[in-house]
């Protein structure tokens, strides 16, 4: 019972904060709300007995990526983001983009409904397959990451490394000028 109450509290915080992220104009507030949303999500992970995932969520998303966002917003010093002042010819404002976005949203909804229906059919949650205990163990996460998903893992690392080198190259070029 307390678990269910906590679940609804954190789920409500996550959804409410996420809605507010896109619902208001000040990017600084958006960032803080997104962090709150991440925090609520990680609380949900803890409820799912996956403390490692929860902490990874906080360290990587709330800790590292959002600091970067904050940095960018602070440096741009643009507390107002007014849609009305936007350039009408901005690529994001083309009607085709809006339709594409709506299509993606519809697709997501269909997917979610499908997943939920399937869960109800089976009568069990996705996590009830018996590997929940494995999820919570750092050891098994590490083992799977370095055996079954070795290629994906290494490919991702190389991708990030390339992005990093690219950023350094771009920054260095600007300095030389």
């Amino acid at each position: 019972m307390p678990d269910a109450v906590l679940f609804y509290v954190f789920a409500a915080v996550a959804i409410g904060a996420s809605l507010l992220v896109i619902g208001q104009r000040n990017p600084m507030y958006s960032i803080m709300l997104l962090i709150a949303s991440f925090g609520a999500l990680s609380a949900l992970y803890i409820q799912l007995d996956a403390p490692f995932v929860a902490m990874a969520q906080i360290i990587v998303y709330a800790g590292a990526i959002m600091v970067l966002f904050l940095f960018v917003v602070m440096l741009l010093n643009a507390p107002q983001e007014d849609a009305a002042q936007w350039d009408r010819t901005h690529p994001l404002r083309r009607p085709g983009m809006g339709r594409f976005g709506a299509m993606l949203a519809a697709l997501l909804i269909v997917q979610l409904v499908w997943a939920l229906v399937r869960v109800n059919d089976a009568g069990t949650a996705v996590g009830a397959r018996g590997d929940v205990a494995d999820l919570s163990s750092v050891r098994s996460v590490g083992r799977v990451l370095f055996t079954d998903y070795m290629f994906a893992f290494e490919a991702t690392s190389i991708l990030i490394l390339v992005a990093m080198v690219g950023a350094v190259v771009l920054a260095a070029r600007e300095e030389r000028r």
Partner: protein
């Protein structure tokens, strides 16, 4: 009273005690800092309020409480208020995962032993790391929302510094985690029980001397203390990110800093100095005294360094972090991995 109620009350008591100790740690550190600084500069330090100036922190707090709260006209109202709260909350919350004593039955009061510490989390190292890294938001928000150039520069410097040093910090932690084979601080401490050859304590300090040095340096930088106190470099930035703060809101920032120092020292004690393990006292269930002594020694080191080493230059700080400290931490990690593979295989 039945066991379950007693147990609950004792757990509650431990939580309250931890909170109380943290608050007092920040007050005591203020006094210790001023006293030690005075000693190093050949003067008395505070000595008028109470015996030997012991009540000075109380006087400081009272003074700050009665000061007027100011907020710059163009400051962002919400974030300006939120920033100190975030700082101090993150500081307190991080300590929740730090164990500070062995299991005890309180001299036979309980039939199953209770663990000294707020929460026994199986990923405690990550919890402490994640929550302390949230503290940077307090500083960055304070810097940005004050709408002052000194504050903004302080906030920017702090975020850059913390991101840079977090890497070395986490890499140093990883080596200890590999040695202990667990992310739980309690298991890390328990892995350090006993002696080599009967007299050298099995502390990870002796297996990880480089890791310990890296941890301490990165820890000083993470808590924004001298010689890495750039966010509040007085000579350049007035007071850095907290320039525009006054009264209680101001008081929360140094408090968060002192609590972060305490957490950093407590984690260092758990990871490298064998936590509550030590000769003699442990037999009487007083291992936590060792813990407090070790934390106190590290905290003294913090203050000692602050008043002896001059501040770095900002670019030197970044160079040091990225070009020396981080590679050293990675080397340490690789060496540790090789060591474990060689001796365990």
């Amino acid at each position: 009273m039945d066991q379950a109620t007693l147990r609950f009350l004792i757990q509650l008591g431990i939580i309250g005690l931890t909170f109380f100790m943290l608050i007092n740690a920040s007050a005591l550190l203020v006094l210790a800092e001023r006293k030690i600084m005075g000693f190093m500069q050949q003067r008395y330090g505070p000595y008028l309020v109470g015996p030997h100036g012991l009540l000075q922190p109380l006087a400081d707090i009272l003074k700050l409480l009665f000061k007027e709260e100011l907020r710059p006209k163009d400051a962002d109202k919400w974030l300006f208020t939120l920033a100190p709260i975030v700082s101090v909350t993150a500081a307190f919350a991080a300590f929740a995962a730090v164990p500070w004593g062995a299991e005890t039955t309180f001299f036979g009061l309980l039939d199953t032993p209770v663990k000294l510490g707020v929460a026994d989390v199986n990923v405690a190292v990550l919890v402490v790391f994640a929550i302390t890294s949230m503290g940077v938001y307090g500083i960055v928000l304070a810097g940005w929302s004050s709408n002052s150039k000194y504050s903004l520069l302080g906030g920017l410097r702090s975020s850059a510094q913390m991101i840079s040093y977090e890497l070395a910090y986490a890499t140093a932690l990883a080596a200890v985690i590999m040695l202990a084979g667990s992310l739980s601080l309690r298991s890390v401490v328990d892995a350090q029980a006993g002696y080599w050859f009967g007299f050298i304590p099995r502390w990870y300090l002796f297996l990880q001397p480089l890791g310990f040095i890296i941890y301490v340096i990165a820890g000083v930088a993470e808590t924004n203390r001298a010689p890495f106190d750039f966010p509040e470099a007085e000579q350049e930035l007035v007071a850095g990110y907290n320039t525009e703060y006054s009264s209680v809101r101001f008081a929360l920032f140094p408090q968060a800093e002192y609590i972060n120092m305490t957490t950093m020292s407590a984690v260092a004690t758990d990871l490298y100095l064998g936590g509550w393990h030590g000769p003699f006292l442990e037999r009487f269930g007083l291992g936590w005294v060792w813990f407090l002594v070790k934390v106190g020694i590290i905290l003294f080191g913090y203050i000692w360094v602050r008043w002896t080493v001059p501040r770095y230059r900002y670019d030197q700080l970044m160079q040091f972090g990225w070009k020396w400290l981080f590679p050293a931490a990675v080397l340490n990690l690789i060496a540790t991995a090789a060591f474990i593979l060689y001796f365990n295989a």
